[in-house]
Structure formats: C-alpha cells, structure tokens
Symmetry: C2
Subunit: 127 residues, 2 copies
DNA sequence: TTAGATGCAAAGGGTTTGCAACGTC
DNA sequence: GACGTTGCAAACCCTTTGCATCTAA
C-alpha cells in the first residue's frame, strides 16, 4: 500500500475527530486540504484502511456508514434524536461470551454493542 | 392500517422463518402466494410492520437490511463466513446499562448486541 | 363511499467501478 | 519504469416514491 497524500489526509481526519463521521463528511474535510480529491478515492482509502484494521466501519441504523478512526475495545451509543455517536468502554465480560457460545453452538470471536438513548444535549433541549 | 392480503402474506412469511431474511427474499416468497405483489409493496409493508413493532430491522454489516418477524428481548449472532444469522437470548443485564448511563451521560433506552463468530456448519466444513 | 393500499416504473442516494492519467517506490 | 492510486463519471444496487388504480372498511 502506497503512502499517498490522499491516504494520509483521510487517516489524519479520522484520527483527529470524535464524531464518527460519514464518508461525505470526510470528503468535505479532505477537500479543504486537497481540493481535487474525489469521493471515490475517499471510499477507496476508507476501504483499505478498514482492511488494515486502522479504521472501523459502523452501521448504526441509517443508510450512511460511519467510520471510526480510533478502533479499540469500545462500543458506541447513538442518540435516537440527533444521531450523535459517542464512545463507550466495553462493559461486556467474557462470561457473557461463553454463555452465548454455549447457547448457540457458534464459536464467538467478537461482539458489537450499540446502546441507544438520548444524549445530554437533546435531553436538555427538550426534557 | 388495513389488513390487506399483501400485509398478511408478508407478516406470515416473516413469522414462519428463522432466517432473518432480506426484503427481496421476502418478495420471492410472497410471489409464490401473490404472483402480482410488487417489491415496492413489500418494502412499504415491512416499513409499516416495523413502525408497529411487529418486525425489527437489522443492519448486520452487509448492504441489505434483514428483517426479524419475532421481535423480543433477544439479539443476534452472525456467522462471519456465511452470513447466517441466529437468535441469542439477551445476556446484558441492567447493571451494564446503568454503567453506560453513568459513563456517557446519555439516558439509555435500549441496547443492540451483535455477536460475531463462526456457525457450527461452517466450522465443521472447514475446522 | 372513500381514504388508505397497491403495482408499476422511474427516481433517489450511498457506494462501487472502469479507465486513462498520475505519482510512488 | 512499473504498478499501485487517483479523478472523473458512469454504473450499481437497494430502497423510496409519484401516480393512477384498486380495495378494505
């Protein structure tokens, strides 16, 4: 994999935000640095970064994918009013995984948890 | 909401399968009973059933949505080799929810868990 | 009778891809 | 110089929607 300007910029944007952005948001940011970058390239770079494990793709209900540039053992909580996504530390222990393994016969490799609620901003705006 | 043939057929199909099918699978099945049903109608019926809480829509990574006609307090495990989806009882307790609430400031209303692993069939085929 | 549901086909919208030009290694 | 990457635009594919028609209540 070559270390192109486009790749550097996309990775940089993802690593310097906590907003779990969509591909087109990344594209808009990237254009501020590289005005000629194309949306197709953003998607291709995101795809490669994901294969390499540097980025995680989230499917949180809506049609657009969101991307997390700080992968690790954490999960996400989505605000059901505004769609804002925040990180949550993993509260699932391995006892739960073992129970799932026993109950289903599947070999459990990972889990993905999404909490759904209302973020403080939305709750304050309309209690 | 009117109780049309189309609605009955779609709900029936969903309630009589454990496969968490995609919209076009439901469409193919429905055509065996109502040859003139359209894909648009399948989508509209699925949308309404979801609003009514009779069906739950899953976004499990791939681009197609899958639908669960037996909603309830259970989650899903997805086979990373074949994409098969199975049900898992909820192993997340409310203590975990409270921890998330305290950690994030969000009011937690629900959680969605997806386990990822390898199903018995795939594992047996290629240990 | 009539408001809501359907079938059809076209439009939407996010994502992917073919291809020639480009830029790393 | 070779080959992976890019920009562009068109293609893709799942899903939604407009509209005339139909049908459950």
């Amino acid at each position: 994999m070559r270390n192109t300007k486009q790749r550097q910029v996309v990775l940089d944007i993802l690593r310097n935000t906590d907003t779990h952005p969509t591909a087109d948001w990344v594209y808009e940011q990237a254009r501020k640095v590289l005005p000629n970058i194309s949306l197709g390239t953003v998607y291709r770079v995101l795809g490669r970064l994901q294969e390499e494990g540097l980025v995680v793709q989230l499917d949180v209900g809506s049609r657009k994918s969101r991307f997390d540039g700080k992968p690790g053992q954490h999960q996400h909580i989505v605000c059901e009013r505004c769609g804002r996504v925040a990180d949550v530390p993993d509260v699932i222990d391995h006892i739960a995984s073992e129970r799932v393994q026993n109950l289903t016969g599947y070999r459990v490799h990972a889990h993905r948890v999404e909490w759904i609620g209302v973020c403080p901003e939305c709750h304050n705006a309309q209690p």
